[in-house]
């Protein structure tokens, strides 16, 4: 009985880690959106583009951080729980 409970807990752990990794997909969409819109804007007005690269990276970093959080949860489930 106890072995089965442990197996079930292990299963839950791995399923949870897999579900947590889905969050990274959202971060991918977000980062792609930012980069794509930046490129669209930069092609319309190339002379203004270099001054906005800092904003581009800050935006990418913020969008990516939320995905990294879910990745962290996945890692915690895999290796720490």
């Amino acid at each position: 009985m106890e072995a089965e409970v442990a197996q079930l807990a292990l299963m839950g752990k791995y399923i949870g880690a897999g579900l947590a990794a889905i969050g990274l997909g959202g971060a991918g969409i977000g980062v792609g959106n930012i980069a794509g819109n930046f490129l669209a804007g930069a092609l319309r007005n190339p002379s203004a583009a270099p001054s906005q690269t800092a904003n581009l990276f800050v935006g990418i970093a913020f969008a990516e951080a939320l995905g990294i959080f879910s990745f962290l949860i996945a890692l915690l489930l895999m290796f720490a729980v």
């Binding site: 990276f57 800050v58 990294i68």
Partner: protein
């Protein structure tokens, strides 16, 4: 720690992140926190692979800067132009983002950038140790920035620094709600600041080792070796970009403290 038979990897992808002392081996069973056996554990004064690679990063930075500024020629040598490019790049970033008042904190930002950049790049050497992939290291850096910015803001702007949380451009009814959100996002800053750097590097290095593990399977080994090469190139980009992102976010946070009263 799961063993080879359980996970099916020839190299366990997370083994590269184990902190171990370099002058001795930890004997199995001498460091078991659950059973109150601590004698064999790493002591605070012990030299581990983390300290060695951090020291190497610092030495590399010192070497670059000392040799780079030794000549001080009008027509710069290659090493001198590298130093000048890094210096000018960070200086311009601090000036652009934080404004003229922020320039006096440039040395700290430059130190952060160089330390993170060199730790990231040295971590890419085979058999080396990526110190910035450990949350303990990045949290130290991020907390220093967070505490520094908070103290600086309170000293410079007094109680007016708290006005940052009271969004005066929003309708009055919404302001208390926004204030709560702003306070939460302010305290999440050091978390996201540190986890971003550590998470990116750890994920990249783990992926590299996963593909390195696949290289031991004869059928797919050419594909795996190619994948490792490609990911290595990507990691080189990530190492530089993450150092840049950490630094620019430091500048963004610094701007709140330096110019917090008037914006």
């Amino acid at each position: 720690m799961t063993d080879v038979a359980e996970t099916g990897f020839a190299i366990h992808p997370m083994d590269q992140f184990i902190v171990k002392p370099i002058f001795r081996e930890i004997e199995p069973g001498t460091c078991v926190p659950a059973e109150d056996i601590y004698e064999g554990c790493i002591k605070w004064y012990e030299i581990t692979n983390v300290t060695v690679w951090m020291a190497l990063a610092v030495l590399a930075i010192v070497a670059l800067m000392v040799f780079g500024s030794a000549g001080r020629a009008t027509i710069p040598s290659r090493i001198q132009s590298v130093c000048e490019m890094i210096y000018g790049f960070i200086y311009k970033m601090v000036e652009d983002v934080t404004g003229h008042d922020g320039v006096k904190y440039f040395p700290y930002v430059m130190t952060l950038f160089l330390f993170i950049l060199f730790s990231n790049l040295l971590g890419l050497l085979p058999m080396s140790f990526t110190t910035t992939s450990h949350v303990a290291v990045t949290v130290t850096l991020a907390l220093l920035v967070f505490l520094g910015v908070t103290i600086l803001g309170l000293v410079k702007n007094g109680i007016g620094f708290l006005g940052m949380f009271w969004v005066s451009s929003a309708p009055l009814a919404l302001r208390p709600v926004l204030a709560i959100i702003e306070v939460i996002s302010y305290f999440v800053r050091p978390v996201s600041h540190s986890i971003r750097l550590a998470g990116n590097l750890m994920a990249g290095h783990a992926v590299m080792k996963v593909f390195a593990g696949f290289a031991s399977m004869a059928v797919i080994s050419p594909v795996a070796v190619g994948a490792v090469t490609a990911i290595y190139g990507l990691e080189l980009l990530v190492a530089v970009v993450q150092a840049y992102v950490f630094t620019i976010l430091t500048c963004v946070y610094l701007k709140d403290a330096v110019g917090g009263a008037h914006h």
